[in-house]
């Protein structure tokens, strides 16, 4: 393996060929084919007819009625809006729960800090399906919450709080799934925070709220934005939480896409929704890259 000196460019090409081939064929290839399928005619048995047809995209907004006229159909717009609102709420809640924790961890001595950060990452590496399923035991009928309520006489034996299959249950599931992803980037920008700046602010008679608002938050903004994107993007396309905790009744974008391929068998429509989700993600990532380069420019000038 020589990538210095003679044969350098040949070896660079050789070394990267497996990567280009595997990602190119099995990641970019499928995405291109999916883009193609999204503009073809659906076959009712799954799959497509190779004929150009924009019905997949049209179906997101319109329905064809009995007289072959197009009618506005709000059903999928509602799903898109619900995904958006839930993803934004999950991001804000994760930020509120995660930021103080990230701050507290970043101010610990090194050995404690390492262990705590490791504890934050463990759930990320464990099975998301299993972790979400654990919430059924907690929120479900006769589950941990309901049985403790009835134990204290707050709930009659046959009554139910009906916590499951609600937007609230989905929201808890989403926050629980992606909370570690909020904490890690915030933690790494908090670690770089110079505490002398906090002392300076305090010496200049800043209150604690002002220190948080005007010193800590502006200086850790890249971490906050990074964490928010890491939570927001997977929430938009989430499938497990809406499926298990929403009972598949409250569809989100992710479960809508999955449904088109498992049950409804309308591939072009499913592919069109997937393309829509993918473009949303690309927009978010581009905005993030813009903000980051701006922030770097700012820091260079300071």
């Amino acid at each position: 393996m020589n990538i210095q000196g003679e044969n350098k460019s040949r070896n660079i090409v050789l070394g990267l060929t497996p990567l280009w081939l595997v990602i190119g064929i099995f990641m970019i290839g499928p995405l291109l084919i999916m883009a193609g399928v999204s503009v073809m005619e659906p076959n009712v048995y799954g799959g497509v007819y190779f004929k150009f047809d924009l019905s997949g995209y049209r179906q997101i907004l319109f329905d064809t009625n009995l007289f072959d006229e197009m009618e506005f159909n709000p059903a999928y717009v509602i799903i898109i809006l619900r995904s958006f609102v839930l993803a934004v709420s999950a991001t804000i809640i994760s930020l509120i729960i995660g930021f103080p924790a990230a701050y507290f961890i970043s101010r610990q001595p090194d050995n404690v800090k390492n262990i705590l950060i490791f504890l934050v990452t463990i759930p990320f590496w464990t099975n998301l399906l299993v972790r979400t399923f654990a919430w059924i035991i907690i929120l479900g009928k006769g589950g941990v919450i309901e049985s403790s309520f009835s134990f204290f006489g707050l709930l009659n034996e046959d009554d139910s709080l009906n916590l499951m299959y609600t937007n609230f249950a989905i929201l808890i599931g989403l926050v629980y799934s992606y909370l570690p992803l909020m904490v890690l980037p915030i933690f790494s920008s908090l670690e770089k925070l110079d505490v002398r700046l906090l002392e300076a602010a305090s010496d200049l008679y800043s209150s604690r709220m002002e220190i948080i608002r005007r010193v800590i938050i502006p200086l850790t903004l890249p971490g906050i934005i990074g964490g928010s994107i890491l939570v927001f993007v997977p929430c938009l396309g989430a499938f497990i939480a809406p499926d298990l905790l929403g009972g598949g009744k409250k569809l989100l974008l992710g479960s809508l896409i999955q449904f088109q391929f498992s049950t409804a068998r309308n591939w072009p429509f499913g592919a069109a929704v997937a393309m829509f989700l993918l473009s949303l993600v690309v927009i978010v990532l581009v905005i993030n890259a813009r903000i980051n380069s701006k922030h770097e420019d700012l820091q260079k000038h300071v």
């Binding site: 070394g15 990267l16 990602i23 999916m34 799959g47 990452t121 590496w125 099975n127």
Partner: protein, 266 residues
């Protein structure tokens, strides 16, 4: 300075420690509850009647679960080394190759599976295999897993390479070692903990994957998470709790091993 009488430091905020305790409670209580209920002797998942191992014993007589676990292992044992191998040479070229054309593009390719929402990758891969008529059972799943394992294997390997002192290899060259043996006896041994870490992360990610496997796997290639999903859909039973707890324990042991490995090498 008088402010410091009230609190220890200006950078200590009151209530943050309690908040952090709640934060960790939120992360771990559900896992704890799940594991506790897997030892419940009652046949009803939600009603506690007593401690028992019976659901764990039952797992070992459930052929479907054993088959699913076996599939999961076969897939991870094949996909994780392939992803690690690709990640290792890519990292060597990208970190050591200097500023060559296509460097940004190649790093972008590696992170692509992390950027694209999982459900999109899942259906795109399903469409890909279906339209091309590739139906090789487990091999389809192994290919899909190799792709999304690459970025996870890549991260620790790249970090290890960046932390390594390139002068060590140059010193070996000065001492008349040829290029290949300098790589074999200096770079590779120093990089081994990084490669091993990458492999372990790829392995865990492969075993835990659910959505992509659900869409790509055909009838005979059900994996453990997909099997758990079908069990949960039919109703929560203590048996699901038991198999889920085992899967959790597996990941936690692996990731803890990874953590100790990294702690030692750094």
């Amino acid at each position: 300075m008088f402010r410091k009488n009230k609190f220890r430091h200006v950078w200590d905020f009151p209530g943050f420690s309690g908040w952090t305790a709640i934060f960790f409670g939120f992360l771990y209580v559900p896992i704890f509850v799940l594991v506790c209920y897997s030892f419940n002797s009652s046949s009803y998942a939600m009603i506690w009647t007593g401690f028992s191992f019976r659901w764990y014993e039952k797992l070992f007589f459930n052929d479907d679960i054993l088959q699913a676990a076996y599939n999961s292992l076969i897939i991870a044992i094949t996909a994780a080394p392939m992803a690690t191998a690709i990640a290792t040479i890519s990292a060597l070229v990208i970190v050591r190759g200097g500023g060559f054309r296509g460097k940004e593009f190649s790093s972008g390719l590696i992170t692509l599976p992390l950027m694209v929402p999982e459900i999109v990758t899942a259906v795109a891969t399903l469409i890909f295999f279906a339209t091309l008529g590739i139906n090789l059972g487990l091999i389809n799943v192994i290919i899909a897993h190799t792709v999304f394992c690459i970025p996870f294997a890549y991260m620790p390997i790249k970090a290890a390479l960046e932390a390594m002192d390139p002068n060590l290899e140059l010193a070996a060259r000065d001492l008349y070692s040829d290029k290949n043996s300098a790589f074999r006896y200096i770079t590779l041994p120093l990089l081994t903990p990084g490669i091993l870490s990458g492999f372990m992360l790829a392995f865990v990610i492969s075993v835990d994957d659910f959505i992509i496997t659900l869409m790509v796997a055909g009838g005979g290639s059900t994996t453990l998470p997909v099997y758990i999903y079908s069990m949960v859909k039919m109703g929560v039973t203590p048996e699901v709790n038991a198999v889920s707890s085992l899967l959790l324990a597996f990941s936690i042991i692996f990731v803890t091993g990874y953590w100790f490995l990294n702690k030692k090498s750094s």
